[in-house]
Symmetry: C2
Subunit: 415 residues, 2 copies
C-alpha cells in the first residue's frame, strides 16, 4: 500500500525542536555540545530521552552498560526487533547532529508510525547507544559492541579516562554495571537502521539529499618512525647528514601523491607528526608520523600499503636513514545489507529523492551491527562537511527528508 505523506511543516518543526532539545543536555550555549560517556551531561540526556520515550508511548529500558531502548510492541509475538537509532555521546565541543540526529529521527519516525498506523507487525525499538566516539575513554563502540558481543566487560578492564577514572568506576557511578539492568547482549535483532549526518561534503557538493551507504571503509593505521642522526645545523655539511625529517618529507610526499593517483575511493592521511629534538638549529634525529589509509576493499588497502612501504624502504636506504613501520589498526571494510539498501533505494526512486550510493569513510555503530545483523546506514548532508565542531549543521529540509525516509523504511520492514 501507499503510505500517507507526513505533513512537511509539522515534521520540520518536530525535528528542529527535538535536535535543540537533545543539544540542551551538555550544550555550552554557543552551539557546542559535550556529552562524554557516563558524565552528568550524558546522564541528563539519557534521562530526558527516557522521559520522551514514556511520553511517546515507547516502553523505555536500559541495559547494564547504559544503552537505552524505547520499544513499540509488535503484533507478532515471535518477531525479532527492528532496531533504529544512533549514539548519544559526543566528542568534546562537538555539534548537535552527530549521533543525536539518529536518535531524534528514530523517536519521531516511530511516533509517526504509531500514531498513523498503530502497532507494527514486528516490534520496533529506538536505541540511544551509550558510546561510540571514544572521547572520554580510549575505547570506541562501547554501546553497539556490548549489544553485539564484540565488546565485553573484559575489554573495559584497565581502561581509564585522562583523570585516571576507570570505565568501571564511571559506569557504576552512573548506576550501571551492577546487574540491575539486563545484560547488553541481544539475540533478538531483525535488523539495525542508522540515520546519521555524512560528516563529509560529498552530498553537498554533488547536490544529493541522501547517501545510501554500501560499505563502511576498512582502515589501517600506522605509526611510522624514521631514525636519522642529530647534528649541529651549522657545522654539519649537507652531504654527511642523515636527516630524519627530510626522509619523512619524502615518504609523506610519496604516500599522499600515490593516494591521489589511486582509485577514487582510497584516502590516505598523515595527520600527526612528532619531530625530535624539534629545535631549529639541530638536524632531526627521529620523526614519527601517523598514516591512516581507508578504502571499501581490504585488498586495495593492502596493495596500496605494500607499494608505499616498498618505496619507503628504498628512499630511506638512499638517504642513510632507517624506518620502522608499526601497524596498530586493521579494520576490514563492512558491507551494509543489500536487501535493506534495495528497499531504501526503491523508496527514494518512488519519492523522487536524489541520492548517492557511497562508502562511508568514517566509522559508525553500523559497522559493529553490520557483521551481526542486516544493517542499513543512511546519510543526510553536512554543510561544508564540518563535524565534531559547533559549526556542524544540516538544513531542516535535509533533516526532514531523512526522517521521512526512515519512516518509510521502518514501515516497509516492520509493518
Amino acid at each position: 500500500m501507499m503510505i500517507e505523506q507526513p505533513k512537511m511543516s509539522a515534521l520540520s518543526e518536530q525535528v528542529e525542536s527535538m535536535v535543540e532539545w537533545l543539544a540542551s543536555h551538555g550544550g555550552d550555549g554557543q552551539g557546542g555540545v559535550t556529552r562524554l560517556l557516563y558524565d552528568p551531561s550524558w546522564r541528563s540526556a539519557q534521562k530526558a530521552i527516557e522521559a520522551k520515550m514514556n511520553e511517546l508511548g515507547l516502553l523505555p529500558r536500559y541495559d547494564d552498560v547504559g544503552n537505552l531502548f524505547g520499544r513499540l510492541a509488535g503484533r507478532d509475538p515471535q518477531a525479532d526487533v527492528v532496531l533504529t537509532g544512533s549514539h548519544v555521546d559526543t566528542v568534546t565541543g562537538g555539534g548537535k547532529y552527530d549521533g543525536a540526529y539518529g536518535i531524534v529521527a528514530g523517536l519521531i519516525a516511530v511516533d509517526y508510525l504509531k500514531t498513523h498506523y498503530g502497532p507494527p507487525l514486528k516490534p520496533i525499538e529506538v536505541v540511544s547507544l551509550c558510546e561510540e566516539e571514544g572521547s572520554r575513554f580510549p575505547l570506541t563502540y562501547w554501546g553497539s559492541g556490548s549489544i553485539t558481543g564484540a565488546k565485553n566487560r573484559e575489554a573495559a578492564v584497565g581502561v581509564e579516562d585522562s583523570a585516571g577514572v576507570s570505565l568501571e568506576e564511571a559506569m557504576c557511578e552512573a548506576g550501571f554495571g551492577f546487574g540491575l539492568h539486563p545484560r547488553p547482549e541481544r539475540r533478538d535483532l531483525e535488523c539495525f537502521i542508522e540515520l546519521h549526518i555524512e560528516q563529509g561534503e560529498v552530498l553537498e557538493r554533488e547536490n544529493k539529499s541522501i547517501g545510501l551507504v554500501s560499505h563502511i571503509v576498512g582502515q589501517r593505521r600506522y605509526d611510522i618512525t624514521v631514525y636519522g642522526e642529530s647534528n649541529h645545523a651549522g657545522t654539519t655539511p649537507m652531504q654527511w647528514r642523515r636527516d630524519a625529517l627530510l626522509t619523512a618529507a619524502e615518504l609523506i610526499r610519496v604516500v599522499i601523491n600515490r593516494a591521489k593517483a589511486d582509485d577514487e575511493g582510497l584516502v590516505a592521511t598523515v595527520g600527526r607528526m612528532d619531530v625530535k629534538p624539534n629545535v631549529g638549529n639541530v638536524i632531526p634525529r627521529e620523526v614519527t608520523f601517523s598514516l591512516d589509509v581507508r578504502h571499501g576493499e581490504a585488498e586495495r588497502i593492502h596493495a596500496f600499503c605494500e607499494e608505499c612501504f616498498r618505496e619507503f624502504e628504498k628512499l630511506a636506504t638512499e638517504q642513510g636513514t632507517n624506518i620502522e613501520i608499526h601497524q596498530w589498526m586493521d579494520e576490514p571494510p563492512v558491507a551494509m545489507d543489500r536487501a535493506l539498501g534495495k528497499t531504501a533505494e526503491e523508496i527514494m526512486e518512488k519519492e523522487g529523492v536524489s541520492f548517492k550510493k557511497m562508502t562511508s569513510g568514517a566509522g559508525h555503530d553500523s559497522q559493529v551491527f553490520g557483521t551481526f545483523c542486516p544493517t542499513a546506514l543512511l546519510f543526510v548532508p553536512s554543510r561544508g562537511g564540518i563535524s565534531h565542531s559547533p559549526a556542524e549543521f544540516t538544513k531542516t529540509e535535509d533533516l526532514e527528508r531523512g526522517v521521512r525516509l526512515l519512516i518509510d523504511l521502518l514501515y516497509k520492514v516492520a509493518y
Copy 2:
C-alpha cells in the same frame, strides 16, 4: 728567534687536569656540565678561575657584567691588550670543552710564556667571558657584546629566564651591575684570539689537527607557515584536500635538496616542525617549520633563499595552500683577521701541524669581536662532531696541539 718547545708530557697533563678542574664546577658527575649565567655553578667557576689567575700571577679583574680578566702586564705602557679566552657558561647538560677549553688554554699558554719568557711587550689578558650560549636567558653573546658595545644594559631590559627571573635581578644577585666593577666596554684591545672545539666533524673526517677559521658564516632564520584546511581523514576525497602537511613536505624537500646541490659551504636545516591540530585522523590545517640557512657569503644566502621562496610560492599555489615566510634573524658573515690568520698559518707550516682553512658554521664570541678588533678563531677536532652533550670529547693530543699553537701565536703577537 726560535722559541723553545714546551714539554709534551707536562702540557698534556696540565691541559687534562685543568679541563677536569673547570668541569667540576657545575659538573653532574656523569660528564655533563651545566653553568648557566649567574647561577651558583657559574659563580663557583668564576671564583675558581679568579683564584687560578692569582695563583698563576695574572692580575684578576671583573667587569660590571661578570666577565673575568687575568692580566699579564706588558713592558710597553702604551700598548693595547692582546686578549685570549672564551666563554665560561654552558648549555644545560653540556660538555667539558665548549668554551671552557679556550679559557683553560689561555691560562696555560700565558703561564707558559710568563715562566719561559718573562713579561711580554704588550699586555696579555685571559678572559672568561660571562655568557655566550643564551641557555638561561634568550640573549646570546652577553659577555663579548658588553665588551665591544654590541650589547648594553638596555638590551637586557625585560629579558627573563624560564622561572621569570630577570637578567638584571640575576646579575645583581651575583654581585654585578651595581657599578662596583669597571664598565665592560673596552677601547684598549689590540686583538682577540679564541681557541675552541670545532663542534663539527670536518677536522676529524679530514684528519686535520687545527681548523683555521676564515669566516664565521652568516645565517638567516625563518619560520615558515603553511595554511591549508582541516578535514576528516575518512570522508574527504583526496582531490578536495588542502593538506598543509603535504605542502610542508614538498617545501622541505625542495629546500634541503637545493642545499645539497648548492655550493659546498652552504647548509640549510629544517629542525622544528609544528603541525595543527596534529591528530592522526584529521587533515592538517596549519604547519609551521623553521628554516636555518648559513654560508660564508651574504649574497649566496640571499640568492639561495630567494630561489627557494619562488619555488615555495609556486608549489603552494599548485596545492591550493598559502604560505607565510617570517624572517627573524639575518646575521651577516664575519671575517676573521687575515694577518693573524697568516701568522697562525706560518707557525703551523713551520711546526708541521696539519690544518684546514674553513668557515665556522656555528656562532662564537669571535664573531662579536671580529667586527670590533682583529680576531683569530682556531679549532681543535671534536670527536664525532658531538657538542652540547656530555659525550663532547677532544683527544688530549689535540688539546695540547691547540695550546701549543696558542703559545706560539701569543708569543708572535705580544712579545
